[in-house]
């Protein structure tokens, strides 16, 4: 048995040279591309079909357009409200409140989870309380918050925070806790402190968790803010929905819901982009 010293491992790195594509590879790539295009256009078509069916049903009286509105009515209303600036300010307020809630959730969760990681007995102490608070339907808190803080943006932001925060702290802390102990040992063997273990291993190792938590929590912040606006808003999409339903301006309600869909989609896309950039 002869042990050869060579650098055979260097060859193991997959070289993706586009220059030498075989016919099979080309076919494979083409099929893959076609499949992607097919899915993409099917989605567009599905959406267009839904919108058209909605419009036609409303026009032909299959559905009562007083209750269900119609795409054209909504578009007109959108255009009208955009021009008198009222809609944009409502959207802006909701976005701002959600953004602030989201940032506060993330900031506070990060600080708390970090603190718990450094002092695990504190973490253990608080864990069951966090679990209870997390299982609580947070909308039950909203009336209480209104009594405490009155109506207005402070209440709405607190509602936005309350929905996501407990789960976010819990998840982040548990994920910090699950850092491979061998990696912590590595830092120890390299002479590192606990702070360095956090900054070099625990935190960077949990960035994927952090991003997926952000994805969940930006949605939850929006949920919380809409609940808050339902109950205590004078502005915002949640207020528009409640107000619209009370005065039977259902076009306004549905328009607000459509806008919420667009906002959710935009946020999702943005976070996916971020996730792709950071993933390793």
């Amino acid at each position: 048995m002869k042990i050869q010293k060579n650098n055979h491992e260097t060859n193991d790195i997959i070289k993706s040279d586009a220059a030498a594509l075989t016919i099979g590879q080309k076919n494979f790539l083409r099929r893959q591309k076609l499949q992607k295009l097919y899915i993409f256009w099917s989605r567009i078509l599905l959406f267009a079909a839904f919108v058209m069916l909605w419009q036609v049903s409303a026009d032909l009286g299959w559905i009562d357009s007083f209750y269900f509105s119609s795409p054209i009515t909504i578009s007109k209303l959108f255009w009208h409200d955009v021009q008198d600036m009222s809609l944009l300010s409502h959207i802006g307020i909701t976005l701002l409140e959600s953004g602030v809630s989201f940032l506060l959730i993330i900031l506070f969760s990060l600080l708390t989870a970090t603190f718990f990681w450094f002092y695990p007995s504190l973490g253990k102490m608080f864990e069951p309380f966090l679990i209870v608070l997390n299982s609580l339907p947070k909308s039950a808190l909203a009336p209480l918050i209104i009594v405490w803080l009155g109506t207005g943006p402070r209440t709405i932001i607190l509602c936005g925070i309350s929905v996501g925060i407990f789960g976010c702290i819990l998840n982040l802390y548990q994920s910090f806790e699950q850092t491979d102990p061998e990696r912590l040992k590595l830092i120890e063997t390299l002479g590192g402190t606990k702070l360095q273990a956090f900054t070099k291993v625990v935190f960077p190792g949990n960035i994927p968790t952090f991003i997926s938590l952000s994805k969940v929590n930006i949605g939850l912040a929006l949920v919380g803010v809409i609940i808050g606006e339902f109950l205590a808003g004078r502005k915002g999409l949640g207020y528009l929905i409640i107000y619209g339903s009370q005065v039977f301006k259902l076009d306004m309600v549905i328009l607000s819901i459509v806008i919420l869909c667009v906002i959710a989609m935009g946020i999702y896309g943005l976070l996916n982009l971020l996730e792709k950039k950071i993933s390793y």
Partner: protein, 262 residues
């Protein structure tokens, strides 16, 4: 290739005892461990799985404190010898490039100066890893990753290297290649090393001296100098030699005795 021992100790363990405590009571892991490692030597600790071999390394590295006994480090100057530790898995951090992984230790110890970074470049060049320095570790093979982990340890200029089954996660073929690479690197850098392994042939092929350990509570059963060159067997051919087989049989027997006792 192995240098003649200068008979200068770098490390001595005297009557070292160690226990773990659990719900079930005290588990005595190490029982009166005594050994000396000489400067420049490549020592191997061989013993059955779970016999506390790794605990010995953790004690030497100062990660654990012995219940009783002394661990003495010898040094030419007044500084304690620097101890480098190589773990079972490479634990390269996937968000850092190869180069950033290698300099992790320097970063932690705030020793990222010109001199040390030059050493890193030198090591990368010498062991043919310069071309992957910007890559992420996920793109590399297990053998390469383990060599990078070794360089991460060497970048801190350790006097004493502790190797805790560093090849056990590799497949057999890679293991033979990498263990030889690691052996050659350590010898050419003239480092003292202590290897922990349950693989008898790995220990014979790498070490100058083997300490055979018993089941827990672990004691040293035998100290076996491995001398291929002195017996006229070149290192390249050692695995084929009858001497290799003799060493293997002896250690095997000692570990078997141990298993049949009790």
């Amino acid at each position: 290739m192995s240098k003649p021992h200068q008979d200068k100790p770098i490390l001595r363990l005297d009557h070292v005892n160690f226990s773990y405590y659990s719900n079930l009571g005290e588990v005595k892991v190490l029982n009166d461990i005594n050994f000396t490692v000489e400067k420049g030597a490549f020592a191997a600790l061989v013993g059955p799985s779970g016999c506390g071999k790794s605990t010995i390394l953790s004690l030497i590295a100062g990660l654990l404190k012995p219940v009783s006994g002394f661990i003495t480090y010898y040094s030419d100057d007044f500084n304690a010898p620097r101890v480098g530790y190589m773990l079972q898995h490479d634990h390269l951090l996937e968000w850092r490039s190869v180069y950033q992984n290698i300099t992790l230790g320097l970063e932690i110890q705030k020793k990222k100066n010109k001199e040390n970074l030059e050493l890193v470049d030198e090591l990368l060049d010498k062991y043919h890893l310069s071309n992957v320095r910007k890559q992420k570790p996920s793109a590399l093979s297990g053998g390469m990753r383990q060599r990078i982990a070794l360089i991460r340890t060497l970048a801190l200029r350790p006097d004493l290297l502790l190797l805790d089954e560093p090849f056990s996660a590799l497949d057999y073929q890679t293991r033979l290649n990498v263990s030889k690479d690691v052996h050659d690197i350590i010898k050419s850098e003239q480092k003292t090393a202590i290897l922990v392994t349950h693989d008898i042939s790995e220990a014979i092929s790498m070490a100058d001296v083997i300490f055979v350990l018993t089941k827990p509570p672990c004691t040293i059963k035998d100290v076996l100098p491995i001398e291929f060159e002195a017996n006229g067997v070149p290192r390249e051919d050692m695995r084929k030699s009858s001497l290799f087989q003799e060493y293997f049989d002896q250690i095997w027997r000692e570990m078997q005795d141990e298993n049949t006792e009790k």
